[in-house]
Symmetry: C2
Subunit: 152 residues, 2 copies
DNA sequence: TGACAACTGATACTAGGTCTCACTACACTG
DNA sequence: CAGTGTAGTGAGACCTAGTATCAGTTGTCA
């Protein structure tokens, strides 16, 4: 079963309609590089070679929000402060982002849970959420010899 | 030496002029609760009891940015995704935010450094930055008996 | 096949922030 | 203490990333 069918299945399972507009947004999302903004997606639905009509801006935002709720997408906080979106199947996880090529690694293992528990104890807080993003340069981008393939 | 004098000293040290507008923004910043937005500060410079003229919006944003560069302020990412500002003397640190009363604890100890180093090794990344915010409820806010003092 | 709710998209609006540019006021120089 | 050049200011336009409104459309199910 293809990616798009799996996502459509998840939509239907939650009682959401699978409309033409949502299909168009999904197509555009699946055609994106490692991560993207909502306007990247919107622009993609407007790409000249697409014969289908473009979706409205509100619908693009609404659909991305829906996909976020369904855990089809996750959000990445880039180091410049902008939020990007990315396909994701997992639940809670973190990102390691290469600031040169934009590559992203998800990580759940090597986790901050023990650290957070320790903090909870020390501060007497009841901790229920955290946000962690890590920035650096991947191996390929440190290689001075070959030009790194820009992931986005 | 008062807080404001220390900040002014830091401004002068870096070759910035200490203007009336900057003083007004500083006054407003020092009068804020635990954390605040730029518009909170802007509103404060416009408070009716202040006899001084209010600062322009662009100047408020420029001054906050400058104070951020001088490490007089730090940014806090709230769990609703909004950015707030907060007085800070330290360099790199993280925040533990109570989502009920808005109280914030800075933490540097109990750090993520080892975790980040481990990640760097495993992923072969050259890591140079990270962002961590933790959300929960402080002890006072878990106390059902007394109404918690809302910090902001 | 119709009814009805879910969905759409144009458009207005918001928050948070930057840019431009003519004007002002610091702070040093003599 | 006056003169001068540059840093800083503020009005306002503009920008990005969204949300709200609402009349019209479409998908679903009886
Ligand atoms: Mn992810
Ligand atoms: Mn802080
Ligand atoms: Zn890279
Ligand atoms: Zn609290």
């Amino acid at each position: 079963m293809s990616d798009i069918d799996l996502i459509i299945q998840r939509l239907e399972l939650r009682g959401h309609r699978v409309t033409q507009s949502r299909r168009r947004v999904l197509d555009a999302v699946l055609a994106q590089p490692a991560h993207f903004t909502v306007d990247d997606v919107l622009r993609a639905t407007r790409a000249p070679r697409r014969r289908q009509p473009p979706v409205g801006r509100a619908t693009a935002f609404r659909t991305i929000r829906l996909l976020l709720d369904l855990n089809v997408l996750c959000r990445i906080l880039l180091d410049d402060g902008t939020l990007h979106y990315r396909l994701s199947t997992r639940g809670h996880h973190h990102h390691l982002v290469c600031r040169d090529c934009g590559r992203v690694e998800d990580f759940t293992q090597c986790d901050v849970e023990p650290l957070v528990r320790e903090l909870a104890e020390a501060m007497e807080y009841d901790i229920d959420a955290h946000w962690l993003e890590v920035y650096g340069r991947c191996r390929a981008c440190r290689q001075p010899t070959k030009e790194p393939a820009r992931v986005r």
